[in-house]
């Protein structure tokens, strides 16, 4: 990736808000839409969580936005306060009582929570681990985000992206044409990338971020598939269509599953992408209300497995350099992918030094959950990045490896601002370059 592409992308993101469609909903409509989402999504499990909260505030200590800024409003459970009130007043068993002693939510209140659920939450799930009652807060923030999106109260950037997805069928300027062009270019460079093949055992994705900033990661994934002689194809649509900002999720998941099924896929492999993984791996079956006929893996997981079963061989990197590994929240804490990327790092002959918070407690890059789109949240992102930076520096590693291109983008953006010189590397690209004959 060259500096120009990076800067162009950043500038484009900064201008994204201006492209958001105007919302014409009345306050009453916004409240009604938000409530409809909450009523539909809050089930018995969420109810048990909401009923159990002790207001102990421990979750704050898990949240990088609170830890980074010390601002009390970033306490995770506080971010779902409107949801909790709707639950209590309209869903919970004691709603008759709560209707007497609490007031209804308002559009203004929902709007005030926009910053809390979009700017200052990346749904990283660290608070879910901290809670002594086991309350899973981040999925409920997901519901809050959906509710605000339905009420057209998502940040302008999210609404702009959603509008682009709905009208132009593109994500951040990337649609089937751009993906096909990239595939053609990579094939021309000598790495065969089949797009939308009629039949394939493995269906792979590229994200708009991959196409725009990190085409090498697509190339290296293709190298790996080709080396293994796999029957695979790249889907002609972007993984972000799974629904950035909680929009269009159901429609897009349905479409992607249909396309994979149509090709007789045995495995759906997701690229180095954050939100796509848990979405397809754990949520898709529930959204469709049926089991999926194929396995869902992330590329790091696939690589790890192939290394472990000996089908893939790597040339160790000379000098055994010290590296540290960042577990992307959506793959690690939300997906359980911890071993496989480490297997790859081992096979690459790298000296892995873990950060203080790693594995299940790894700190977020700061821009997950689409937060990196929000221009005004720059300060918050930087604070989180600094936490990461200090932990990475403490390892003494000169290079930080990750398997999510969103994380990678956030690190690059944060490093540029903080003049941080540690190299940020992509796992799939390291592997793709070290394939043994």
């Amino acid at each position: 990736m060259n500096a120009t592409t990076f800067e162009t992308f950043r500038t484009e993101l900064a201008g994204l808000a201006g492209r958001a469609p105007r919302s014409t909903l009345t306050d009453a409509e916004r409240v009604a839409r938000a409530k409809a989402v909450i009523r539909r999504r809050v089930d018995g499990r969420n109810a048990a969580y909401l009923e159990t909260c002790l207001h102990c505030g421990m979750c704050a200590e898990a949240c990088h936005f609170y830890v980074g800024t010390g601002e009390a409003k970033y306490t995770p459970i506080y971010k779902v306060a409107p949801l909790r009130r709707v639950y209590r007043r309209e869903i919970g068993p004691m709603r008759w009582w709560y209707r007497l002693v609490t007031r209804d939510i308002s559009a203004a209140e929902l709007e005030a929570f926009q910053e809390l659920v979009f700017d200052s939450c990346t749904e990283c799930g660290r608070c879910d681990l901290m809670c002594p009652m086991g309350i899973q807060i981040s999925p409920m923030i997901g519901i809050m985000r959906q509710a605000l999106t339905a009420a057209e109260l998502a940040p302008a950037e999210y609404r702009a992206v959603k509008a682009e997805q709905t009208t132009a069928k593109k994500d951040l300027g990337i649609g089937p044409a751009e993906i096909a062009a990239l595939a053609a270019r990579l094939t021309a460079e000598g790495v065969k990338v089949p797009v939308d093949a009629a039949k394939a055992d493995i269906v792979y994705f590229a994200t708009s971020l991959d196409v725009r900033l990190f085409p090498e990661s697509v190339k290296d994934a293709a190298r790996i598939f080709n080396r293994l002689g796999a029957s695979w194809t790249l889907l002609g649509r972007s993984a972000e269509l799974l629904g950035t900002g909680e929009s269009n999720t159901e429609v897009n998941v349905t479409g992607i599953v249909a396309e994979a099924e149509q090709r007789g896929a045995k495995i759906l492999i997701l690229p180095q992408c954050g939100h796509a993984y848990p979405r397809m791996r754990f949520e898709a079956a529930n959204i469709l209300a049926r089991e999926l006929p194929f396995e869902v893996l992330t590329i790091a997981e696939y690589i790890g497995r192939q290394l472990k079963n000996g089908k893939l061989k790597l040339k160790p990197i000379a000098g055994r350099p010290k590296v540290t590994y960042h577990d992307p929240c959506k793959q690690g804490r939300h997906g359980g992918v911890f071993e496989e990327p480490r297997e790859a790092i081992k096979s690459l002959g790298l000296d892995l030094v873990e950060m203080e918070s790693h594995g299940r407690t790894c700190y977020c890059c700061g821009g997950g959950g689409g937060q990196f789109l929000i221009d005004r949240a720059q300060r918050l992102r930087q604070r989180t990045f600094e936490i990461k930076m200090h932990e990475a520096d403490a390892t003494g590693a000169k290079s930080l490896v990750t398997s999510c291109n969103s994380c990678r983008y956030n690190f690059l953006a944060g490093a540029a601002q903080a003049s941080w010189h540690t190299e940020v590397q992509s796992l799939v690209e390291l592997v793709g370059r070290q394939l043994a004959d």
Partner: protein, 220 residues
């Protein structure tokens, strides 16, 4: 009818009926809500085991995220243990327990229980003060927290006073005992409506989380 007769008689009777009614109402109302079946393949098996482990794991102090919450954890453990020990190991409480269960168990000397109750009360007061001044807690505190805190402390205060025969503002022992029973009534009546319900909900919530995280292959 003296205050004590009222407390031990109709007041407690009504309070415990409200308690049982409210607790079951809330529990059934939560657990009968729709629960979507998880259709995605689990990353790891032994989901029940995962759930049970979460119940245990979230109870045990060692925790990778512990660094910043040492005080909360320790004080939480401290007052809960002291509170229940003072209640369950105080000899004169045994007839109360026996009337429900039909059996009792060995108890501690009263002074120990007095000390335990004092520890629990001191910690509760510290935690209440903390709730009043801590910015994070201020954000998430509701009236429920204050009511729950007070109704939790009242039996301790009245119990300590009655046991130590402290004549608080000239209140005599039988009146203190009556207030002690009435404070328990207040606790029972408020219980189903506030956060005290976590006594019944904490383990199910942890279990759910354990199953969820086990499915994802993440240690709860």
């Amino acid at each position: 009818m003296s205050l004590l007769d009222f407390a031990r008689g109709p007041a407690f009777h009504v309070a415990i009926l409200i308690f049982v009614f409210g607790v079951v109402w809330r529990l059934v109302g939560v657990f009968l809500l729709r629960r979507n079946r998880d259709l995605s393949p689990a990353r790891a098996g032994h989901l029940l085991e995962g759930g049970m482990r979460a119940i245990l794991m979230r109870s045990l102090p060692p925790h990778e995220l512990e660094k910043h919450i040492v005080f909360q954890h320790a004080s939480g453990y401290g007052w809960h243990i002291a509170y229940f020990a003072a209640f369950l190991l105080f000899g004169p409480h045994m007839p109360f327990i026996r009337q429900f269960l039909g059996f009792t168990w060995p108890t501690l000397p009263n002074t120990w229980c007095l000390a335990l109750a004092a520890i629990a009360l001191a910690l509760l007061i510290v935690l209440l003060l903390r709730r009043i001044v801590n910015p994070v807690l201020k954000r998430i505190t509701s009236v429920d927290d204050y009511i729950s805190s007070v109704v939790t402390m009242l039996p301790l205060i009245t119990g300590i006073a009655a046991n130590a025969h402290v004549q608080l503002f000239g209140v005599r022992y039988e009146e203190l005992l009556a207030l002690h029973v009435l404070s328990v009534c207040a606790l029972l009546i408020w219980f189903p409506f506030g956060k005290l319900m976590h006594l019944f909900l904490a383990f199910p919530a942890r279990f759910q989380a354990g199953v969820l995280l086990q499915r994802k292959g993440v240690e709860a």
